[in-house]
Symmetry: C2
Subunit: 312 residues, 2 copies
């Protein structure tokens, strides 16, 4: 049996928060539905922050409502930096909320103006809010940014990251997301830290969020696979970055990530040709934005998904 | 103790055979000596083919002689496609000759107009020539191109690649070089095939030659490290390709490869800042050539070579 692996599209959130062009609600909807149609299982559609901070997300409520009415498969999720954002997401009926804090105190302070401990306590309040609600409970992802180092404070203790993951799991997270926000991780560190987090929070699923800032994005995905991780954030054409991490441009590319996973024998459930067509469309919508990635340019190998006489 | 890993510069051979600008002998020499000064242990300086096939290499004998007089460290090597090229290399006193044949019959036929078996027999004659010579013997690398698939014939049996490696080792190779000439390999296949080759020819060293055509170059390096490989071909700025493999542009990038190995804790003996400066110089010499790679643009992380509190 082929093992399943998941690629989540975060371009609408992590990509769009960085670009100059403000996309219309219609186009956001087309991107979202196109990705779901291609087989993407989770779309991180927006970040529930005030419109004055990220004008790109002023129409988030409308985009979510319309996407939720249209979709026939997949999960719509949103990033939330605090309790207020989580409240908004729950009221809207978002299926999954991905809360994020930073392992680096300095980065957390720059991002949400509070200590990491305060952000962890806030996550506890979000869980309480979720548990108090009636009806189908929203799933809560808990993300740990700057897990592999920080552009402001430098090295981040891996033991600290594991301890934060344990605390978020104990509070009630449905998934831990370990993020290399600034593209500092290398395959050795990824394998070591992701293995430790997977062990610490088992059987909770652990996802990875990598940036390709220094060319190691896909090598880090392969290392995380070795550590047992099976879910990866990515954005079409590698759009994205972090507004508070200078130079941290470039999520890993959705198409290239899907290609690597499928080439390695994982089943992503995703149609790569439809993704490539969607990427071309999004690229036309964002004039002046540089899209990266190799597979849209080079095409899949002649041998893609073909059997080979394997070495013993 | 830090483990050693080796990055060999093949840009002067695999890169220059693809570019339009014919570099002067002086500049080739400057590139070669600059790379040696940065700590590169082996420079593949040229390919000993007739000047009418690759005009870029018309001055190979002169460039080799001058580089050999100038250098104070490292090995100068050359690619040889046949016995005639090997003879020329031995007469010139080249320290290492890297012979290459293709695991794909069709690719071998397109490249050197003979069967893979005939090319293996030719390697036997090169070994005899080497062994018959007096003085310090030249070292012989034996490369297997299209080991991960072929643009002409598609899938290549991994068992066949292992069998070819065993035959080249038995004939007297000093090193086996497994090459993904067309950028088809993925980390799962790389780990499986490289592990099999390493086991089959042990204790002979095995090197890898990867192309980044589909973005998996560095992920494949990390997978080959897992398989015990410790030597990698790369070219400055990722220049290069294969003239008989359409679309197979892009060796892995020397600077990025060195960065990843050092970040993972390997000692390459290479000064990455000097490499980046050399890359900038070579880029100016080759107007119109697109150089790739991330680290020259993004710079090394703040945490590069810094200690971190590691996860247990």
């Amino acid at each position: 049996m082929t093992e399943r692996a998941y690629v989540r599209e975060v371009g609408l959130r992590d990509g769009l928060q960085m670009v100059k062009t403000v996309l219309s609600s219609d186009r956001k909807l087309e991107w979202c539905c196109g990705a779901l149609d291609a087989g993407i299982s989770e779309i991180e559609l927006t970040s529930f922050v005030p419109a004055k901070i990220v004008p790109q997300f002023a129409d988030s409520d409308e985009v979510f409502r319309r996407a939720n009415e249209t979709r026939t498969n997949g999960t719509l999720s949103a990033l939330v930096p605090n309790l207020r954002g989580a409240q908004r997401g729950m009221e809207l009926g978002v299926g999954k909320l991905n809360y994020v804090l930073s392992a680096s105190e300095e980065h957390n302070m720059a991002n949400v103006r509070r200590s990491t401990d305060e952000s962890i306590a806030d996550f506890g309040r979000i869980v309480q809010l979720r548990d108090a609600a009636t009806g189908v409970g929203v799933r809560l992802g808990a993300g740990i940014a700057t897990s592999f180092g920080c552009t402001i404070s430098g090295a981040v203790s891996e033991q600290r990251v594991v301890a934060i993951a344990e605390r978020l799991a104990a509070l009630g997270a449905d998934e831990i997301i370990v993020a290399d926000t600034v593209g500092y991780g290398d395959p050795a560190q990824v394998k070591r830290l992701m293995s430790a987090v997977v062990r610490a929070v088992a059987p909770l699923p652990v996802a990875a969020h990598f940036h390709d800032t220094r060319g190691l994005g896909l090598a880090n995905v392969a290392a995380a696979l070795d550590a047992g991780v099976r879910a990866f954030d990515a954005s079409l054409g590698g759009l994205g970055g972090c507004p508070f991490a200078p130079g941290a441009t470039g999520n890993i590319d959705t198409e290239d990530t899907v290609f690597m996973l499928e080439a390695m024998g994982f089943d992503t459930g995703i149609d790569i040709e439809r993704l490539i067509a969607l990427r071309a469309k999004v690229e036309r919508w964002l004039p002046g934005e540089k899209m990266g990635g190799a597979i849209a340019r080079a095409g899949v190998p002649k041998t893609f998904r073909m059997p080979v006489e394997k070495a013993a």
